[in-house]
Symmetry: C2
Subunit: 149 residues, 2 copies
Protein backbone atom coordinates (compact mmCIF):
# COMPACT_ATOMS: atom_id res chain seq x y z
CA UNK A 1 0.00 0.00 0.00
CA UNK A 2 1.50 3.30 -1.09
CA UNK A 3 1.11 6.03 1.54
CA UNK A 4 0.62 9.61 0.38
CA UNK A 5 4.30 10.30 1.11
CA UNK A 6 5.39 7.23 -0.85
CA UNK A 7 3.21 8.16 -3.80
CA UNK A 8 4.56 11.71 -3.69
CA UNK A 9 8.08 10.28 -3.85
CA UNK A 10 7.09 8.49 -7.06
CA UNK A 11 5.64 11.70 -8.50
CA UNK A 12 8.76 13.62 -7.47
CA UNK A 13 10.96 11.08 -9.23
CA UNK A 14 8.89 11.72 -12.38
CA UNK A 15 9.37 15.46 -11.94
CA UNK A 16 13.13 15.04 -11.58
CA UNK A 17 13.28 12.76 -14.62
CA UNK A 18 11.48 15.48 -16.57
CA UNK A 19 13.99 18.09 -15.46
CA UNK A 20 16.84 15.80 -16.48
CA UNK A 21 15.27 15.67 -19.96
CA UNK A 22 15.29 19.47 -20.13
CA UNK A 23 11.61 19.64 -19.25
CA UNK A 24 9.39 21.24 -16.64
CA UNK A 25 9.78 19.38 -13.33
CA UNK A 26 6.22 18.47 -12.39
CA UNK A 27 5.20 14.87 -11.87
CA UNK A 28 2.11 12.93 -10.91
CA UNK A 29 0.95 9.49 -9.85
CA UNK A 30 -2.53 7.99 -9.92
CA UNK A 31 -3.10 5.77 -6.90
CA UNK A 32 -5.99 3.29 -6.89
CA UNK A 33 -6.66 0.91 -4.01
CA UNK A 34 -3.25 1.73 -2.55
CA UNK A 35 -1.34 0.93 -5.73
CA UNK A 36 0.29 3.34 -8.17
CA UNK A 37 -1.67 2.64 -11.34
CA UNK A 38 0.12 5.16 -13.57
CA UNK A 39 2.66 7.96 -13.46
CA UNK A 40 3.24 10.97 -15.65
CA UNK A 41 5.24 14.14 -16.02
CA UNK A 42 5.02 17.44 -17.80
CA UNK A 43 6.05 16.91 -21.43
CA UNK A 44 5.74 20.41 -22.89
CA UNK A 45 9.40 20.46 -23.89
CA UNK A 46 9.89 16.77 -24.60
CA UNK A 47 6.78 16.31 -26.79
CA UNK A 48 6.12 19.93 -27.75
CA UNK A 49 2.70 19.57 -26.14
CA UNK A 50 0.72 22.24 -24.28
CA UNK A 51 -1.73 19.71 -22.86
CA UNK A 52 0.67 17.20 -21.30
CA UNK A 53 1.03 18.46 -17.76
CA UNK A 54 1.98 16.01 -15.02
CA UNK A 55 -1.60 15.11 -14.18
CA UNK A 56 -2.93 14.89 -17.75
CA UNK A 57 0.08 12.85 -18.88
CA UNK A 58 -0.58 10.53 -15.95
CA UNK A 59 -4.25 10.17 -16.95
CA UNK A 60 -3.19 9.51 -20.55
CA UNK A 61 -0.72 6.85 -19.39
CA UNK A 62 -3.42 5.23 -17.27
CA UNK A 63 -5.51 4.83 -20.42
CA UNK A 64 -9.27 4.47 -20.62
CA UNK A 65 -10.67 3.63 -17.21
CA UNK A 66 -14.22 3.10 -15.98
CA UNK A 67 -15.74 5.73 -13.71
CA UNK A 68 -15.69 3.21 -10.86
CA UNK A 69 -11.87 3.21 -10.92
CA UNK A 70 -11.55 6.99 -11.06
CA UNK A 71 -14.00 7.08 -8.18
CA UNK A 72 -11.53 5.20 -5.96
CA UNK A 73 -8.45 7.11 -7.11
CA UNK A 74 -6.15 9.68 -5.60
CA UNK A 75 -4.25 12.02 -7.91
CA UNK A 76 -0.87 12.78 -6.39
CA UNK A 77 0.98 15.71 -7.92
CA UNK A 78 4.15 17.56 -7.00
CA UNK A 79 2.55 20.97 -7.64
CA UNK A 80 -0.87 22.53 -7.12
CA UNK A 81 -2.88 21.64 -10.27
CA UNK A 82 -3.51 24.28 -12.94
CA UNK A 83 -6.99 25.02 -14.29
CA UNK A 84 -6.70 22.34 -17.00
CA UNK A 85 -5.57 19.61 -14.62
CA UNK A 86 -8.16 20.72 -12.07
CA UNK A 87 -10.78 20.28 -14.77
CA UNK A 88 -9.49 16.84 -15.71
CA UNK A 89 -9.75 15.76 -12.06
CA UNK A 90 -13.33 17.08 -11.91
CA UNK A 91 -14.33 15.50 -15.24
CA UNK A 92 -13.39 12.05 -14.03
CA UNK A 93 -14.73 12.47 -10.52
CA UNK A 94 -11.41 11.75 -8.81
CA UNK A 95 -12.36 12.30 -5.16
CA UNK A 96 -8.94 13.02 -3.61
CA UNK A 97 -5.90 15.06 -4.61
CA UNK A 98 -2.55 15.08 -2.79
CA UNK A 99 -0.35 18.08 -3.60
CA UNK A 100 3.38 18.25 -2.95
CA UNK A 101 3.43 22.01 -2.60
CA UNK A 102 1.46 25.13 -3.49
CA UNK A 103 3.99 27.81 -2.58
CA UNK A 104 5.35 28.36 -6.09
CA UNK A 105 1.97 28.08 -7.82
CA UNK A 106 -1.57 28.06 -6.46
CA UNK A 107 -3.96 26.34 -8.85
CA UNK A 108 -7.55 25.17 -8.71
CA UNK A 109 -7.64 23.95 -5.12
CA UNK A 110 -10.59 26.15 -4.15
CA UNK A 111 -12.64 24.90 -7.11
CA UNK A 112 -11.75 21.29 -6.29
CA UNK A 113 -12.87 21.74 -2.68
CA UNK A 114 -16.06 23.53 -3.75
CA UNK A 115 -16.91 20.48 -5.89
CA UNK A 116 -16.35 18.08 -3.01
CA UNK A 117 -12.81 16.89 -3.74
CA UNK A 118 -10.59 16.23 -0.73
CA UNK A 119 -7.37 18.23 -1.16
CA UNK A 120 -4.31 17.44 0.95
CA UNK A 121 -1.24 19.69 0.74
CA UNK A 122 1.93 18.04 2.04
CA UNK A 123 4.09 21.19 1.75
CA UNK A 124 7.11 19.10 0.84
CA UNK A 125 10.41 21.02 0.92
CA UNK A 126 11.97 18.96 -1.89
CA UNK A 127 9.07 19.85 -4.21
CA UNK A 128 9.42 23.54 -3.33
CA UNK A 129 13.17 23.53 -3.95
CA UNK A 130 12.80 21.74 -7.29
CA UNK A 131 10.29 24.31 -8.56
CA UNK A 132 12.14 27.33 -7.15
CA UNK A 133 15.36 26.22 -8.83
CA UNK A 134 13.53 25.57 -12.11
CA UNK A 135 11.65 28.88 -12.12
CA UNK A 136 14.86 30.78 -11.40
CA UNK A 137 16.64 28.98 -14.23
CA UNK A 138 13.83 29.00 -16.82
CA UNK A 139 11.34 31.79 -16.08
CA UNK A 140 10.15 32.12 -19.69
CA UNK A 141 9.48 28.41 -20.04
CA UNK A 142 7.63 28.37 -16.73
CA UNK A 143 5.46 31.33 -17.70
CA UNK A 144 4.64 29.65 -21.00
CA UNK A 145 3.43 26.58 -19.13
CA UNK A 146 0.98 28.56 -17.03
CA UNK A 147 -0.25 30.65 -19.97
CA UNK A 148 1.43 33.86 -18.92
CA UNK A 149 4.08 34.34 -21.59
CA UNK B 1 -11.66 35.60 -42.47
CA UNK B 2 -13.53 32.67 -40.95
CA UNK B 3 -16.88 33.64 -39.44
CA UNK B 4 -18.13 31.79 -36.39
CA UNK B 5 -20.43 29.74 -38.63
CA UNK B 6 -17.60 28.90 -41.02
CA UNK B 7 -15.31 27.88 -38.16
CA UNK B 8 -18.09 25.74 -36.70
CA UNK B 9 -18.44 24.01 -40.07
CA UNK B 10 -14.75 23.12 -39.86
CA UNK B 11 -15.19 21.79 -36.32
CA UNK B 12 -18.26 19.84 -37.40
CA UNK B 13 -16.31 18.25 -40.23
CA UNK B 14 -13.75 17.12 -37.62
CA UNK B 15 -16.56 15.67 -35.50
CA UNK B 16 -17.95 13.76 -38.46
CA UNK B 17 -14.52 12.46 -39.40
CA UNK B 18 -14.17 11.20 -35.85
CA UNK B 19 -17.50 9.40 -36.04
CA UNK B 20 -16.46 7.83 -39.35
CA UNK B 21 -13.38 6.48 -37.53
CA UNK B 22 -15.62 4.89 -34.89
CA UNK B 23 -14.93 7.68 -32.44
CA UNK B 24 -16.89 10.21 -30.44
CA UNK B 25 -18.15 12.97 -32.76
CA UNK B 26 -16.91 16.16 -31.16
CA UNK B 27 -14.65 18.54 -33.04
CA UNK B 28 -12.95 21.86 -32.47
CA UNK B 29 -11.12 24.62 -34.27
CA UNK B 30 -8.82 27.31 -32.88
CA UNK B 31 -9.30 30.58 -34.73
CA UNK B 32 -6.70 33.34 -34.45
CA UNK B 33 -6.95 36.63 -36.30
CA UNK B 34 -9.75 35.22 -38.43
CA UNK B 35 -7.79 32.15 -39.54
CA UNK B 36 -8.23 28.55 -38.44
CA UNK B 37 -4.86 27.86 -36.81
CA UNK B 38 -5.56 24.25 -35.79
CA UNK B 39 -8.33 21.67 -35.66
CA UNK B 40 -8.90 18.66 -33.47
CA UNK B 41 -11.35 15.94 -32.61
CA UNK B 42 -12.09 13.59 -29.76
CA UNK B 43 -9.64 10.68 -29.98
CA UNK B 44 -10.68 8.52 -27.02
CA UNK B 45 -11.39 5.55 -29.27
CA UNK B 46 -8.82 6.19 -31.97
CA UNK B 47 -5.86 6.80 -29.63
CA UNK B 48 -7.18 5.15 -26.47
CA UNK B 49 -6.77 8.48 -24.73
CA UNK B 50 -8.96 9.95 -21.99
CA UNK B 51 -7.42 13.43 -22.37
CA UNK B 52 -7.87 13.97 -26.12
CA UNK B 53 -11.22 15.69 -26.33
CA UNK B 54 -11.99 17.93 -29.30
CA UNK B 55 -10.63 21.06 -27.66
CA UNK B 56 -7.54 19.53 -26.05
CA UNK B 57 -6.63 17.68 -29.26
CA UNK B 58 -6.98 20.99 -31.08
CA UNK B 59 -4.67 22.71 -28.56
CA UNK B 60 -2.19 19.84 -28.91
CA UNK B 61 -2.28 20.13 -32.69
CA UNK B 62 -1.71 23.89 -32.44
CA UNK B 63 1.49 23.18 -30.53
CA UNK B 64 3.28 25.49 -28.14
CA UNK B 65 1.98 29.02 -28.57
CA UNK B 66 2.83 32.26 -26.77
CA UNK B 67 0.21 33.73 -24.45
CA UNK B 68 -0.22 36.63 -26.88
CA UNK B 69 -1.63 34.24 -29.50
CA UNK B 70 -4.00 32.48 -27.09
CA UNK B 71 -5.10 35.95 -26.02
CA UNK B 72 -6.40 36.66 -29.55
CA UNK B 73 -7.95 33.23 -30.07
CA UNK B 74 -11.46 31.84 -30.25
CA UNK B 75 -12.02 28.19 -29.41
CA UNK B 76 -14.83 26.84 -31.59
CA UNK B 77 -16.29 23.53 -30.49
CA UNK B 78 -19.26 21.49 -31.63
CA UNK B 79 -20.33 20.73 -28.02
CA UNK B 80 -20.35 22.58 -24.72
CA UNK B 81 -16.87 22.03 -23.21
CA UNK B 82 -16.42 19.56 -20.35
CA UNK B 83 -14.62 20.50 -17.13
CA UNK B 84 -11.21 19.51 -18.54
CA UNK B 85 -11.59 21.48 -21.73
CA UNK B 86 -13.05 24.41 -19.79
CA UNK B 87 -9.94 24.34 -17.64
CA UNK B 88 -7.66 24.23 -20.68
CA UNK B 89 -9.40 27.31 -22.10
CA UNK B 90 -8.96 29.11 -18.77
CA UNK B 91 -5.32 28.04 -18.38
CA UNK B 92 -4.37 29.64 -21.67
CA UNK B 93 -6.55 32.70 -21.28
CA UNK B 94 -8.53 32.11 -24.47
CA UNK B 95 -11.02 34.97 -24.30
CA UNK B 96 -13.83 33.65 -26.51
CA UNK B 97 -15.57 30.30 -26.98
CA UNK B 98 -18.10 29.47 -29.70
CA UNK B 99 -20.23 26.40 -28.96
CA UNK B 100 -22.20 24.49 -31.57
CA UNK B 101 -24.76 23.22 -29.11
CA UNK B 102 -25.35 22.64 -25.39
CA UNK B 103 -28.59 20.66 -25.51
CA UNK B 104 -27.02 17.21 -25.27
CA UNK B 105 -24.37 18.23 -22.71
CA UNK B 106 -23.95 21.35 -20.61
CA UNK B 107 -20.35 21.85 -19.59
CA UNK B 108 -18.35 24.62 -17.96
CA UNK B 109 -20.04 27.60 -19.56
CA UNK B 110 -20.93 29.24 -16.25
CA UNK B 111 -17.34 28.96 -15.00
CA UNK B 112 -16.02 30.36 -18.27
CA UNK B 113 -18.35 33.37 -18.05
CA UNK B 114 -17.51 33.91 -14.37
CA UNK B 115 -13.84 34.14 -15.37
CA UNK B 116 -14.56 36.70 -18.09
CA UNK B 117 -14.67 34.46 -21.16
CA UNK B 118 -17.18 35.39 -23.85
CA UNK B 119 -19.34 32.35 -24.59
CA UNK B 120 -21.46 32.20 -27.74
CA UNK B 121 -23.88 29.31 -28.26
CA UNK B 122 -24.94 28.86 -31.90
CA UNK B 123 -27.51 26.12 -31.15
CA UNK B 124 -26.74 24.44 -34.45
CA UNK B 125 -29.24 21.71 -35.43
CA UNK B 126 -26.63 19.62 -37.25
CA UNK B 127 -24.47 19.49 -34.10
CA UNK B 128 -27.49 18.44 -32.02
CA UNK B 129 -28.47 15.70 -34.46
CA UNK B 130 -24.93 14.34 -34.65
CA UNK B 131 -24.70 14.03 -30.86
CA UNK B 132 -28.23 12.69 -30.38
CA UNK B 133 -27.60 9.97 -32.96
CA UNK B 134 -24.26 9.10 -31.37
CA UNK B 135 -25.58 8.99 -27.80
CA UNK B 136 -28.47 6.77 -28.88
CA UNK B 137 -26.07 4.41 -30.68
CA UNK B 138 -23.24 4.37 -28.12
CA UNK B 139 -24.52 5.35 -24.66
CA UNK B 140 -21.78 3.47 -22.78
CA UNK B 141 -19.00 5.10 -24.78
CA UNK B 142 -20.54 8.52 -24.31
CA UNK B 143 -20.90 8.05 -20.57
CA UNK B 144 -17.26 6.94 -20.38
CA UNK B 145 -16.19 10.15 -22.09
CA UNK B 146 -17.93 12.35 -19.54
CA UNK B 147 -16.73 10.30 -16.58
CA UNK B 148 -20.08 8.73 -15.78
CA UNK B 149 -19.54 5.08 -16.65
Amino acid sequence: MASDAEALAVALAEARAGRAEGGIPIGAALVVDGTVLAVGRNRRVQDGSPILHGETDCLANAGRLPASVYGRATMVTTLSPCDMCTGAILLYGIPRVVIGENRTFYGGEDLLRSRGVEVVVLDDPACVTLMNDFIAAEPTLWNEDIGEE
